[in-house]
């Protein structure tokens, strides 16, 4: 059934090799005052068939990290250290020709703003056909047929007629569906969604999340979903990485993160989500202060200046991610949280 569609779920190979493995990636911006670090030695990984949520506030390096994987960073922003392995190949060292095969062919991208991410002077059928012709060597007729199927797959009514529409004739939600269809055109192993719902209204947001969830289950790909909205992706992702100032501060399975948020920043983020049970007159909880500017990072833990639990050690040294849960699946980069857990495990009655 899937075969007829030209789409087959990827076999979940368990060779111990991760689909995406980012190690110590550092990104710097050239400013007039010299280079400023925006992403500081980030470690990330995505397993085959896994959905990873990346959460963090604006400017914490979420999008830059993902763009850097595909070497799509603007001119003045550069990766200075670290490696990013995709299916065992280092994306940073790959030749341009090989990289182009990965882009769109093995890794699909969905961008933030569907209003400006489609070429305004090209019919959407053509834009869908482009990667199919380029990566899959299809003829124009084959690509057009497949483009129609893709539009149907993402739930666009009258897909065959829509192929000849221009982007401005579609609503925001429709355009994001088209973007998703383009991202999935070549049946990629990994779909990177960079805040795909930010520009959409709330009901459409939920539709898009559901759509990606269904497509993921159907096609068996891995997904990285970047967002600043923890609640939105709770039902979609397997694991969440919380980013703060260009580093991962907490990495946990989604249930563990909501049940037992361990980093003070994560706790603050969760506390700032309004709940139905809140008093109507109560003020929304927020985290005091602002994230450090690039180039003015504190010497120790980047969150230390805003942290309610801060101690002297936090100002002196940078904490690294350490496992606190069973089998180390839940990791946190916070001295205080790590010590609390150590203390708990030393308790005599355990």
């Amino acid at each position: 059934m899937m075969m007829a569609n030209g789409m087959r779920p990827h076999p979940v190979t368990n060779t111990g090799e991760r689909l995406l493995d980012v190690k110590g990636l550092t990104i710097e911006i050239d400013t007039r005052r010299g280079p400023a670090t925006v992403v500081d030695g980030i470690d990330l990984h995505v397993d085959h068939g896994e959905t990873l949520g990346i959460v963090g506030e604006s400017g914490c390096g979420k999008s830059l990290t993902m763009l850097s994987l595909m070497r799509l960073l603007p001119n003045k922003i550069k990766v200075t250290k670290g490696e990013a392995n995709f299916a065992g190949r280092d994306l940073q060292k790959m030749s341009n020709a090989d990289l182009r095969k990965v882009r769109g062919g093995e890794v699909g991208f969905i961008f933030q703003d569907p209003m400006t991410s489609l070429n305004p002077v090209m019919r959407i059928g053509q834009q869908l056909a482009e990667p199919l012709i380029y990566h899959r060597g299809m003829t124009k007729a084959q690509a057009r047929k497949r483009a129609g199927e893709l539009l149907r797959l993402v739930g666009i009514p009258g897909p065959e007629e829509r192929l000849d529409a221009y982007p401005h004739e579609l609503s925001g939600g429709m355009r994001q569906r088209v973007m998703i269809a383009i991202g999935l055109a070549c049946n990629p192993q990994l779909l990177i969604a960079d805040e795909p719902t930010t520009a959409l209204d709330v009901t459409i947001q939920a539709q898009i999340v559901d759509l990606v969830k269904e497509l993921r289950d159907k096609l068996g790909m891995s997904v990285v979903w970047i967002t600043h909205d923890l609640a939105l992706i709770a039902g979609l992702v397997d694991r969440i990485n919380v980013l703060y100032a260009g580093t991962v501060v907490e990495d946990a399975p989604v249930d563990a993160l909501f049940a037992n948020p361990s980093h003070p920043y994560t706790q603050g983020l969760l506390a700032s989500i309004p709940k139905l049970t809140d008093e109507r007159s109560a003020r929304l909880s927020s985290i005091g202060g602002t994230p450090p500017e690039p180039g003015r990072r504190p010497k120790g833990c980047p969150f230390a200046p805003r942290c309610p639990l801060v101690e002297q050690i936090c100002h002196d040294r940078v904490p690294s991610l350490k496992g606190i849960g069973q089998a180390g699946a839940h990791r946190v980069a916070c001295f205080v949280a790590q010590r609390k857990l150590e203390a708990a495990s030393w308790a005599p009655n355990r």
Binding site: L67, P157, E169
Partner: protein, 320 residues
């Protein structure tokens, strides 16, 4: 099973596609001056294409018994000092003007768009070199360059053609009219491309940073495809306006050069050399000056109106 609708979306309205061009066409039609310009341009273009086959007289045949006649039914614009029909010559001059304008603009746009798009898209050293070339070319006085090219290249080419003819007896080498055109095309194209290069570069610089370009890169498309299918089509609006204005300018420029004797040479009729001939006797035979001058003015105004109209039509933000 392969066509399971995933989620039922809300929107179901389907309008007939309204493309940018159709939209622009609607706006253009409402602009009277632009429509006037368009009609005149179409008439002149058809005259250039088919006119010479329909004229009652040959533009070269002399009738020395009927020199300097005033306009009449058999000679609409009268005859010149060699008894040639001025109407036929103006019609043929239209062909000359269009031929030069179209070929020169085509070459200039080709060079300008290629250089400008590459400079804007790739930036860096390439950009600097192209902009340096552009500035340098723009600093050369038009007329001076054309005079220099004419003076330095015309006679060597002519004598080379002559020697080829004597060696091969191939009549192709006898057709010196083409040397004229080639020199005019070449020298004018050489000075006409910089404005196109600058315009396209500026457009590309702004388009390059738009999200759909990053999206196209993320699809693994090559720079060549992105440049040709994503960048250039989006830069086309202002370019069309510039081309329309450029065609008019090229016509005037051709006439100016021919007027000064460095463009198309007699006996090939050009509005410019007809004006030049008419100027000498205008007190006695004003029609010899009036006919080509009026047509040149009409063509220039028509292209300028059309260009303005296109500018408004293709810039939705500027209109209304």
């Amino acid at each position: 099973m392969s066509t399971v609708p995933v989620t039922t979306p809300v929107e179901t309205d389907i309008e007939p596609p309204v493309s940018l061009w159709r939209d622009a066409w609607h706006r253009l039609r409402r602009n009277r001056l632009a429509v006037f310009g368009l009609i005149v341009v179409i008439i002149l273009a058809s005259t250039a294409a088919f006119g010479p086959y329909l004229t009652p007289h040959d533009f070269l045949s002399q009738d020395l018994g009927a020199r300097n006649l005033a306009p009449s039914m058999s000679h609409l614009f009268g005859t010149d000092d060699l008894g040639r029909d001025v109407f036929s010559r103006v019609v043929y001059g239209t062909r000359t003007a269009f031929l030069v304008a179209v070929v020169v603009t085509f070459i200039a746009v080709l060079i300008g768009v290629t250089l400008g798009a590459m400079a804007g898209f790739f930036g860096g050293l390439l950009d600097r070199i192209v902009m340096w070339l552009t500035d340098m070319t723009m600093s050369i006085p038009n007329l001076l360059l054309v005079v220099v090219i004419n003076a330095s290249l015309k006679s060597p080419i002519a004598s080379w053609m002559e020697s080829r003819y004597l060696a091969t007896l191939n009549p192709i080498y006898r057709e010196t009219v083409w040397v004229d055109f080639l020199l005019v095309f070449g020298s004018m194209a050489l000075i006409s491309w910089p404005p196109y290069a600058r315009l396209v570069r500026a457009q590309v610089l702004s388009i390059r940073s738009r999200p759909y370009i990053t999206a196209a890169q993320a699809l693994g498309l090559t720079n060549r495809i992105i440049l040709m299918r994503y960048v250039v089509p989006n830069a086309l609006g202002p370019l069309i306006v510039a081309v329309s204005a450029g065609l008019g300018t090229a016509m005037v420029l051709e006439s100016a050069f021919s007027f000064l004797g460095v463009g198309v040479n007699p006996p090939t009729p050009s509005w410019g050399n007809m004006i030049s001939d008419g100027l000498r006797v205008w007190q006695h035979y004003p029609h010899l000056l009036a006919a080509p001058a009026a047509i040149l003015g009409l063509a220039s105004v028509a292209f300028s109106f059309l260009g303005d109209g296109l500018n408004d039509a293709l810039n939705p933000r500027g209109a209304k």
